[in-house]
């Protein structure tokens, strides 16, 4: 038995939330201990081997701008890039990178272990106690003891976890790994959601047994931008591979439909709520009987790895049924399965008992982040991890400080506000639709959005120097765009014609030129700067061009939202409302569950009736 004493912060769980929390805390020169299972890789990817995606790409860049790990790890282990929604405008564009998952984990471990103030303990935490004076004491399965001032729990799906594979039910959160039954006792004081959550994953396929030639190939996009600030936009660390696209068909679905009684999801074996946005193939087959095919994305799990992740086929059907239906899919006729798909049911905490710093409202010094908070996705977990890590650190350094991201400035802010204020009833994933300020919360301007938060952390590392430089460049170039004018002249008109800029009927500024709706903002600005011989960081050019383009729209949106927010920002007394006889029983229940503080929170409650809103607007607000 050893004693690992006097840590500033202990992080329990080495997933995406845990490693961000530990990594950022170490930047504050605090003494950090990361305790994680000995047989689970650090920063592992138990589901799809990809980082980013619509809405999530923005989160990765926000994490990177806060000083996090994820963007760097994803770039260095990326093997296939895509820019999603490329044709739909900059605001909703997102980068997604397929990664070599093994490489990703190794890299994460290397980075953490080379930080001298991070200790990694590979054991199972069994007992947690809170001593008087606010010290946390943890004991692991080997009898070791750890003490710390702050505790961050990033336990993922491991609380009371049960796995389902056909009729087989095993205790645990990830295939082959045990759950922590004793550890759970500590959570008696933490309110859990009454509904358990459920998640699932598809079978992993032996890549040698797939016929790629009949599937649609999706090559890596060589122009997609890296996440990490110090990486060039398009440099690649690893070789690039392709993903493939195939489809399920009538045969696939009829096999699944014939085996309904064997499906834990549909025979009552699984009670938990799964995410509607990420349905299992059983869900798709039974809930949408009219559809006879769905996309399946064939994603390699690594350069050397022999396994394929078939995205879109998450299942908990018995092994033989999995094999049977997989082999009906084009290109998978001879497929062999390396690991079968399964579903997990787990407890999540009621995040309304957390504050916006992710600290527990009653138990001081205890933070929660990641899937244990009922979110899904590595990016969501990492985003919470870094916020919990920063706040736990700040509370030790200067108790007057805290980091609360505004929902108008970041997707992480949207997520945390939603988590701590709303009564969520399914695993939470970020969508761009969750943000009211989508035109502003973009990938290209992540540093602009996050700069003030990072600066408030009072650190002076490379990233801080870069961000200061970036902001200066940005402001300079923005001014340049506003000040540079093209005067009407024959030469200039000819130049406009030659460049396909459209007519030059009156003097216009460079900014106005960049904003012209038919033009590619970034290309135009880049081209013009080349003409002037002006050199700017390409990240700055991109952010300035897009900011110019959206400025008018953002301002107008603000005017509209201000009109609404005069009402929206007003406080309401939810207790009074929840007793009002003038509100339907159903709406009252929802109000009781959500406890909305403002009219806008009331408005965003699922299923609240317009009549109720009209009533509250008129009788409770002035």
């Amino acid at each position: 038995m050893k004693n690992f004493n006097n840590f500033d912060i202990i992080v329990v769980g080495g997933g995406h939330a845990g490693i961000e929390a530990a990594w950022i805390a170490a930047q504050f020169d605090l003494k950090v201990c990361l305790i994680t299972f000995s047989d689970v890789e650090i920063g592992s990817m138990p589901c799809n081997p990809a980082i980013g995606g619509v809405g999530k790409g923005q989160v990765v860049r926000e994490i990177d701008a806060l000083g996090g790990l994820m963007g760097k790890l994803a770039d260095l282990s990326g093997i296939q890039y895509r820019t999603l929604n490329q044709s739909k405008g900059y605001a909703v564009q997102s980068t997604r990178v397929q990664v070599d998952k093994e490489y990703y984990s190794k890299l994460a471990e290397v980075m953490l272990t080379t930080k001298s103030n991070i200790t990694i303990a590979r054991n199972k935490v069994e007992i947690v106690r809170l001593k008087e004076g606010g010290q946390y004491v943890l004991s692991d399965s080997e009898g070791n003891e750890y003490t710390s001032k702050r505790l961050i729990i990033t336990a993922g799906t491991f609380i009371n976890a049960i796995m389902h594979l056909g009729e087989d039910v095993t205790v645990g959160g990830v295939i082959g790994k045990g759950a922590s039954a004793e550890f759970d006792k500590f959570f008696a004081g933490v309110k859990l959601k009454t509904k358990r959550y459920k998640t699932g994953t598809p079978a992993r396929l032996d890549s040698k047994t797939l016929n790629f030639s009949v599937m649609y190939e999706q090559k890596s996009d060589e122009f997609a931008n890296n996440f990490h600030y110090s990486h060039n936009f398009t440099e690649r660390n690893l070789d690039q591979v392709s993903c493939y696209l195939t489809r399920t068909n009538e045969k696939t679905l009829s096999i699944i439909r014939e085996n309904k009684e064997k499906s834990p999801l549909f025979n009552g074996q699984i009670q938990g709520v799964g995410p509607r946005y990420c349905p299992s193939i059983e869900d798709k087959a039974f809930r949408y009987p009219d559809r006879n095919g769905h996309h399946v994305f064939i994603e390699p799990e690594g350069l050397d790895a022999q396994t394929i992740y078939p995205n879109g086929l998450s299942t908990s059907l018995p092994k033989e049924v999995q094999t049977q239906f997989l082999r009906t899919i084009e290109g998978l006729e001879k497929v062999e399965i390396k690991i079968y798909g399964y579903a997990v049911e787990y407890d999540v905490i009621d995040t309304r008992s957390l504050g916006r710093t992710l600290e527990h409202n009653e138990i001081k010094g205890l933070y929660f982040a990641g899937q244990v908070n009922g979110t899904s996705g590595y990016e969501e977990a990492a985003g919470q991890g870094i916020v919990a890590g920063i706040n736990a650190s700040l509370s030790l350094i200067d108790s007057s400080k805290e980091l609360i991201l505004d929902r108008n400035a970041s997707y992480i802010g949207v997520m945390i506000e939603d988590l701590v204020t709303k009564d969520l009833n399914e695993p939470y994933r970020l969508f761009t639709a969750r943000s009211e300020n989508r035109l502003y919360v973009r990938e290209d301007n992540a540093i602009n959005r996050i700069f003030k938060y990072r600066r408030s952390m009072d650190l002076d590392l490379d990233i801080d120097k870069y961000q200061t430089f970036y902001m200066e460049e940005f402001n300079l170039l923005y001014k340049l765009c506003e000040k540079t004018t093209y005067n009407v002249s024959e030469d200039m008109s000819n130049y406009f014609k030659k460049m396909n800029y459209g007519p030059l009927e009156e003097n216009i500024t460079l900014k106005e030129l960049v904003c012209r709706s038919k033009l590619e903002a970034v290309e135009v600005l880049k081209g013009e700067l080349d003409q002037f011989g002006a050199k700017f960081d390409e990240k700055v050019i991109k952010a300035v061009a897009i900011s110019c383009k959206y400025e008018g729209y953002i301002n107008r949106a603000h005017i509209e939202t201000n009109k609404v927010s005069r009402l929206s920002m007003q406080n309401i007394d939810w207790k009074k409302l929840s007793k009002s006889k003038n509100i339907s029983f159903e709406c009252r229940q929802r109000i009781k569950n959500v406890m909305p503080q403002t009219f806008s929170e009331l408005k965003s409650i699922n299923g609240i009736r317009p009549a109720t809103l009209a009533y509250v607007a008129s009788s409770y607000l002035k």
Binding site: V54, Y277, F431, S517, R556, E560, P610
Partner: protein, 535 residues
């Protein structure tokens, strides 16, 4: 409505209280306990059940003031959602006043402010904003159309349509979000199709609602028929003839200037105000000028505009003043006079019109010409008397021949007269004039009945469209319609979904305004400030 203190018990006489009536109904609302009203009644109120009628006496101390029928509505099952007591008493003004005094003197009740019962009903979610607007319409309706619309709005029909629009919008918004966040799951084409289906559904609804706002409202709430023409064209004759046929029982006169006279005529249960204008003439007289500009205002708001032209006494340059007005009907007079066709053909600058007829007003016009509306100070009797006179000789004269027969004489010349009328058709006149002048039967001299049937037809056509009459809703619908059109353009030209989505957000705020989620306060303030609703 911060001006209205909440929760205190209020009382008011809910039936008309300016005159003596058989029965008046006094309404009390907001008292916490029925027994607290025991002092006012002989009957022990603890014994009465809700929604039942009791005969009792109202007492002041030991003195009986009146006998009364009372009904108790226990909140929330009442109009206001509070405890309500309705008291029917004898409708003598003084009696009602004395009872109100009694109930308010110890501050048990205070007199309700205008609209306060309805306001409480709104606060207690008994009525929605559009229902209240409907109630306003209903209680103040002057025509059956408005009455119908009022009751529909009051019963929540219109509100239902708005909620339907809202849910179509929510679907549209969801479809757009689908194309952003879930395009990989469902595929690009499916997302696009979904978006266009949802847009069409929404656009169809708003198009339909917008159609219902197209009618000029002011012309429907108290519809007017306006007669316009140059001096001696025969306006007054027509005025008198119409009046003779359909004079409404209401004889209220609204004309306050010497520039026009007006009377009410009744066509199929709807009272129309018939206005004989001052006529149009060039003038340098400033005072007259003001009169004429008032005339233009009347024209603008008129439900049915009739232009009367006597081709023998027409100065074409005088048409320039009204060249922008589109008339519902052109009435040509003096068609039987010699040289009619030439005269008519030589007319230039006749304003646009939708239909044309001619009427024989010749004899009458002489008579009325001598009166000249200008000289008659809104006197209802005189013009009527005179108009009665001249009509009779006319019927005598036309009687034996029969107007149609007589007029079949000049068929040919009149047919030729299509020439000059033709160009007017191009100016936007629809088919009807052709029917009248060119139809298989030939030109038709019409009588007043036909003219009235034109008016009736237009009115019933508009009623069939079920127009939305409430100003605020019309305004909001128009804005939504406009924003939807803009959105349609943006959907076609803009690839940037975030920009499309920001247009959608603007649309959303306008829809929320329509339903009353946003700025419901302002809506209600304006309603309660302007009207005395359901007092």
């Amino acid at each position: 409505m911060s001006v209205m203190p909440k929760n205190s018990p209020i009382i008011a006489c809910s039936s008309g209280n300016d005159t003596n009536t058989a029965i008046s109904v006094i309404r009390c609302s907001g008292f916490s306990n029925l027994n607290s009203l025991n002092i006012f009644f002989k009957k022990d109120l603890s014994l009465i059940g809700p929604r039942k009628c009791y005969l009792t006496e109202i007492i002041d101390g030991t003195t009986t003031i009146d006998s009364a029928m009372i009904i108790f509505f226990k909140g929330p099952n009442s109009y206001t959602g509070e405890n309500v007591l309705e008291i029917s008493v004898h409708g003598n003004k003084l009696n009602v006043y004395r009872i109100l005094e009694l109930f308010t003197k110890n501050n048990t009740f205070r007199l309700a402010m205008p609209g306060e019962f309805t306001y409480r009903a709104y606060l207690n979610k008994k009525l929605s904003v559009s229902q209240i607007e409907g109630l306003d319409l209903f209680l103040n309706a002057k025509t059956p159309l408005v009455l119908n619309q009022g009751i529909m709005a009051l019963q929540g029909e219109i509100h239902k349509n708005y909620l339907k629009l809202y849910s179509a919008f929510v679907d549209l918004k969801a479809a757009l979000e689908l194309s952003i966040d879930f395009v990989e799951d469902i595929g690009e084409k499916a997302a696009k199709d979904e978006l266009s289906i949802k847009f069409d559904q929404f656009a169809g609804l708003i198009e339909w609602l917008n159609q219902r706002t197209k009618t000029e409202v002011s012309s429907l709430l108290s519809p007017t028929i306006i007669l316009l023409g140059q001096t001696n064209a025969g306006k007054s004759s027509l005025f008198n003839r119409l009046l003779k046929m359909r004079r409404a029982i209401v004889t209220e006169i609204h004309g306050t200037t010497t520039d026009y006279i007006s009377e009410y005529i009744s066509i199929k249960d709807t009272d129309f105000r018939l206005i004989d204008t001052a006529g149009i003439r060039s003038t340098k007289n400033k005072v007259e000028h003001i009169g004429i500009s008032q005339t233009f205002k009347l024209i603008e708001n008129a439900f049915y505009k009739i232009l009367i032209v006597n081709p023998f006494e027409t100065k074409s340059d005088e048409f320039t003043k009204i060249e922008d007005v589109e008339f519902d009907l052109l009435v040509v007079t003096h068609a039987d006079k010699e040289g009619f066709i030439d005269k008519f053909q030589s007319l230039t600058g006749v304003p646009k019109y939708k239909s044309a007829v001619y009427m024989d007003l010749s004899e009458v016009s002489i008579a009325s010409g001598s009166i000249g509306p200008k000289n008659v100070k809104s006197g209802p009797i005189e013009p009527k008397k005179i108009s009665v006179g001249p009509i009779e000789p006319k019927t005598l004269k036309n009687g034996p021949i029969g107007p149609d027969l007589k007029n079949s004489g000049p068929i040919e010349p009149v047919q030729k007269s299509c020439g000059p009328i033709g160009p007017n058709l191009k100016n936007g006149g629809p088919i009807e004039p052709e029917k009248i002048f060119n139809g298989p039967i030939g030109p038709k001299q019409v009588k007043e009945e036909v003219l009235l049937s034109f008016i009736e037809k237009k009115y019933s056509q508009i009623c069939e469209q079920n127009p939305i009459l409430i100003g605020r809703q019309r305004q909001a619908i128009k804005q939504i319609y406009f924003q939807t059109k803009k959105l349609k353009d943006v959907l076609h030209t803009e690839n940037d979904v975030a920009i499309i989505s920001s247009e959608l957000n603007i649309l959303q705020s306008k829809i929320e305004e329509l339903i009353g989620i946003v700025s419901a306060d302002d809506v209600l303030n304006s309603i309660f400030d302007n009207f005395c609703i359901g007092k």
